[in-house]
């Protein structure tokens, strides 16, 4: 079984502005093919592949979990505590897998946001969650999988275990709280604040199309995976690119260690150069015109984010270079289109990447993003990539996925009191 049926035309867009226009266009859908959709689509009904009114209704509910007050709590209190506890335990020894640490750290926070009750200091349980994330990540990238049928079977089996061991108990607890709240027995402060709770609270709204229990499982899995995968990959990519650039600019390491804004810009450069989804796909549901080019209905539209993010008109004369000091205009995100744009823009972009980095001193409200905090902390602790540092994930055609990233821990680089 193939996921995509034949398309009358395949159109590839490579210019930043054209890709952006395509991502905003209401007639370019993420729903590729209704036949594969009805027959074995492992992501059936999840927000990422919804289009139009259902997508908007779902996002209205789920976006409430990404408000600045929530993000501030995560970035300033929850994340530093979890990160330091985990790094103290895991960042030791002559050969450490940074990918594994990054993924486990992200698992803790993504589990909370998705609405799973896990034992956060239990490394064995974090390994189980990381395994789910790995399987769901293969499912999310099934269009690039070398063996899609195997991935499909793996994901179906994982959903069953995920529901039995995690979503089921979490749903029971949250529903009981919501029911108690509805009866006036507890106040709103006693409710959990996560995607699962938000979905349960609104699932009676037919606009959400959430009556099917299995959709709730898949939706929670989507947020767990999305909240974990980018962090794990981006921290490895950031260290990889940073040390490569530091061979010519050794001051970069010290600057990242002592200035969180530089760390944030380093993360944004990383995302720009190595987007988690290098090529975004859309299907034309009607005739569409982008940059004067007519795209016939049912065409497959491939948006080459890697190329668009290196547009010299927007990112300067050396767009392929890793340069956290790069200058861009205020209306161009430093991460380019790596979080997407338009209605499907990544809801967690501010969690991972923070708010757009200002040109001068940030104000008290600024958020740097969790990956910047993580990058700064591991650089401060003196990590160095080992020669032949990484092992790529060979199960996918995507060029930028790490399976392992080996580092060693040297001498600390900067005082922990630096910003």
């Amino acid at each position: 079984m193939t996921l995509l049926s034949s398309f009358p035309a395949t159109i590839e867009l490579t210019r930043y502005e054209d890709i952006r226009a395509a991502l905003f266009h209401p007639d370019l859908s993420r729903t590729f093919d209704t036949r594969s959709y009805d027959d074995g689509n492992i992501r059936d009904g999840i927000v990422s592949i919804q289009h139009g009114a259902v997508h908007r209704a779902r996002r209205r509910v789920e976006n409430t979990q990404f408000r600045p007050d929530h993000l501030r709590l995560y970035e300033r209190e929850l994340f530093p505590a979890v990160m330091n506890a985990l790094l103290d335990r895991l960042l030791v020894g002559a050969e450490v897998d940074l990918f594994s640490i990054g993924e486990r750290l992200a698992c803790v926070l993504a589990s909370r946001r998705a609405g799973l009750d896990i034992r956060e200091d239990d490394l064995d349980e974090l390994a189980v969650i990381a395994e789910f994330v790995d399987i769901f990540s293969q499912g999310a990238a099934i269009l690039d999988a070398k063996d899609p049928d195997a991935v499909r079977a793996l994901v179906y089996a994982a959903y069953e275990r995920f529901e039995r061991d995690y979503v089921g108990p979490a749903r029971e607890r949250r529903q009981a709280l919501l029911d108690a709240h509805a009866r006036g027995e507890i106040g709103p402060e006693a409710l959990t604040h996560d995607i699962l709770t938000a979905l349960l609270a609104h699932r009676a709204d037919p606009a959400l199309e959430m009556a099917d229990e299995r959709r709730i499982v898949r939706e929670v899995a989507t947020y767990l995976q999305g909240g974990t995968h980018t962090t794990g990959q981006t921290i490895c990519n950031a260290v990889d690119l940073l040390f490569e650039a530091a061979a010519e600019r050794p001051d970069l390491l010290e600057r990242v260690a002592t200035d969180r804004l530089v760390a944030q810009r380093a993360v944004h450069e990383t995302l720009r150069l190595r987007p988690t989804t290098p090529k975004i796909r859309r299907r034309a549901v009607a005739e569409v015109t982008i940059a004067g080019r007519t795209i016939p209905p049912d065409s497959l539209v491939v948006l080459d984010v890697t190329a668009g993010n290196r547009d010299p008109e927007l990112f300067g004369e050396r767009p392929d270079a890793f340069d956290p000091d790069r200058t861009v205009t205020p209306d161009v995100p430093r991460w380019g289109l790596s979080f997407g744009a338009g209605p499907h823009i990544c809801p967690g972009r501010t969690v991972g990447g923070g708010l757009p980095a200002p040109e001068d001193e940030p104000n008290d409200e600024h958020l740097y993003g969790l990956v910047a905090l993580f990058l700064q902390e591991v650089i401060r602790r003196g990590i160095e990539p080992l020669p032949g540092r990484g092992e790529r994930d060979t199960r996918t055609e995507r060029f930028n996925r790490w399976a392992h990233f080996w580092i060693r821990v040297g001498s600390p680089r900067a005082a922990a009191s630096a910003r």
Binding site: F24, P26, A53, H55, R56, R59, R60, V61, N63, T64, F66, R67, P68, P330, D331, A341, G342, P343, H344, I345, P347, L355
Partner: protein, 77 residues
Amino acid sequence: MGVTVTIDPELCIGSGDCVRLVPDAFELREDLGVSVPRPAATTTDVELLVRAAVGCPTQAIRVVGADGDVLHAGNTA
């Protein structure tokens, strides 16, 4: 008469991007899950309003200048 700013509630997904960019001009209605313009939007810097409208993920914001010119229509009817 100042600038007119409207948000199509059917299109808005409550991303809050407009609120983060121009908090004086927009606010989130958590009961509805959408952004709405604040009264001060009529006197807010037009350039900022248009930036918020251009950046709106669903193009739900419409900005009309004091002279009646549509400065940004987005996907609003």
